[in-house]
């Protein structure tokens, strides 16, 4: 059993209580910083710990907090992104259901670090159960003086509210999410100004992913070196929640050291490949990462190693495909998703994705022509001209399909049928 930090209080059948969380050291970090720390010290320990954003972008969380200037206007906001809508990703749901106070303490610490007094949890409608858990636990924390006015007698005030989304993938994008909270149609907005300067209602706003925020109490309590030491690799820091699905025996969420090998996750934790399945490829971190071919089966799963392999760790949502899975079919399904979820704001995304989807459909259904491959490559490049990161994310599986599985695409075209039936 590897060290369990975020899943320390996880039970198979129930949510950890506030008492259990406190018994395991919960809210000690908050009590400590309220008693004797400056906001800069909190930012510094998170920066020293190399806590990189777990929502997919891997931006250093401490650095992001430090971009809220000391003399920035008030009110300031912390937004917790609990919108996870990327296919394959379900870790944030599991985290909230396991130990909700860990998240609440993390949001409050982030609030302290930027002198904000309001936290907003933006959550997708599919997670209504999690939204209700959070509202209930917020009320309990307020009753114990851990949230709300004058927290633990320190004079620091911090409220958390749950904001329900109407449900759309683009809302996971930072600026789209801020527009959604402000009751506007959630199209993304290109910086500058950056949200940490002018975010919600033109005020400084820091947005962090659920898992990132959950790491914060542990780092503040145990120190940066401890956190870095949790990783298996020099280049990694902390643990990571890997959500694994697809052709494995036991899909689920596992907390493992950052840098653990892919093969180890599949074989030791997910119960190995499904009956009769051989590993062919995986998407290592959600739908907007590329196919990782079998030559990387032993890759250390951290941000740096995946980057060196020309891929991304993303959210750590590993989707495993076996030798019987048609990767053209997988990519077609992903493009159906991206085309439908595009917000429609900019041309490369709105127009490009349906063209890609239709070309892939032609190939998958045996009507593909050899010249389609070149067109797909060109359309993939156009996606990079889009307004936000949504379309370049969609390009990742497409481009990696064409790069690593060109033979499989070719075979569809030559046979005039999907070789997988």
């Amino acid at each position: 059993m590897t060290a369990q930090v975020l899943f320390k209080n996880r039970h198979p059948d129930r949510i950890a209580t506030l008492a259990e969380y406190r018994h395991s050291g919960g809210y000690e970090a908050l009590a400590k910083v309220l008693a004797d720390s400056s906001r800069q010290q909190v930012q510094q320990v998170l920066t020293d710990a190399v806590l990189l954003g777990r929502g997919g972008a891997a931006f250093p969380a401490g650095v992001k907090l430090s971009t809220v200037a000391a003399d920035a206007p008030y009110p300031r906001y912390v937004v917790c992104n609990a919108d996870e809508m990327e296919p394959g990703t379900f870790k944030d749901r599991v985290l909230i259901h396991a130990d909700p106070h860990q998240l609440l303490e993390g949001i409050c610490l982030a609030g302290f670090a930027v002198d904000a007094h309001e936290g907003i949890i933006f959550i997708r409608p599919e997670y209504e159960g999690a939204a209700r858990i959070l509202e209930r636990e917020i009320a309990l924390a307020e009753k114990e003086g851990l949230l709300g006015q004058n927290i633990l007698g320190s004079g620091f005030d911090f409220d958390i509210i749950v904001h329900r989304s109407g449900g759309r993938y683009i809302c996971g994008e930072v600026t789209a999410q801020l527009n959604a909270i402000m009751g506007r149609r959630p199209n993304p907005q290109q910086p500058p100004p950056y949200p940490t300067e002018k975010g919600l209602w033109d005020r400084p706003t820091v947005l962090q992913n659920v898992e990132t925020l959950c790491c914060m109490p542990h780092i503040v309590r145990n120190g940066a070196d401890w956190f870095k030491g949790l990783a298996r690799t020099e280049s990694g820091a902390g643990t990571k929640i890997f959500g694994i699905s697809g052709r494995v025996r036991r899909p689920g969420c596992f907390e493992l050291p950052m840098g653990v090998r892919l093969s180890e996750i599949i074989e030791n934790h997910a119960g190995g490949m499904a009956e009769g399945s051989r590993f062919k490829a995986c998407l290592p971190g959600g739908a907007s990462t590329g196919f990782l071919p079998a030559e990387h089966y032993d890759i250390p799963m951290d941000f740096e190693s995946l980057k060196q392999a020309g891929n991304r760790l993303g959210t750590g949502a590993i989707m495993v495909f076996d030798h019987r899975t048609c990767l053209v079919g997988v990519t077609l399904n992903l493009m159906e998703f991206f085309a439908r979820e595009s917000c429609g704001w900019c041309t490369p995304c709105r127009e490009g994705l349906p063209v890609i989807r239709e070309l892939l459909r032609e190939i998958e259904e045996g009507r593909g022509k050899p010249e389609y491959v070149g067109v797909l490559k060109e359309m993939g490049r156009h996606l990079w001209n889009a307004y936000c990161a949504f379309a370049p994310g969609a390009a990742a599986p497409l481009e990696s399909l064409l790069a690593h599985f060109a033979d499989e695409v070719q075979e569809h075209i030559e046979r005039k049928a999907c070789p997988f039936g």
Partner: protein, 157 residues
Amino acid sequence: MLPENLKKELQDRIAAVDHPRELVVDVLFALQAHYGFVTDEAVEEAAGLLGMTPMEVDEVATFYTFVYRRPVGKYVIHVCDSVICWLEGGRSLQEYLSQKLSIAPGETTADGLFTLLPVCCIGYCDRAPAMLINKKVYGPLTPETIDQLLDELREAH
């Protein structure tokens, strides 16, 4: 027309926040619960309550998967059609649902009970193939569990 008590409840919630329009989705959900879907009248009423124009409200209302601008059944089935559910046989289950309910995706049964909407990943890849019925999750699904579920819901009705 909105009943007075619902109107009052929404007005109180709106009065308690700094920026009324941050509640637009909540207000739309409340009106949807009342009318069954977001009617044109509901768009006007939401706009009036929130100090927005009807166009601004409709820009939001037409954007979201869980805000219905057309009538839906008592039970809205959101069946996941994204990659992991697809891999685990989700498409044939969707066809099975269509056939059992005698409706195409996007349609509502004649008795007004069920609406079938294919949606993107619902975040239950560890329970694929999965679906939501009125936001409650079910999975992994088989034709047998679907039969049982539909029977239970019909009986409950």
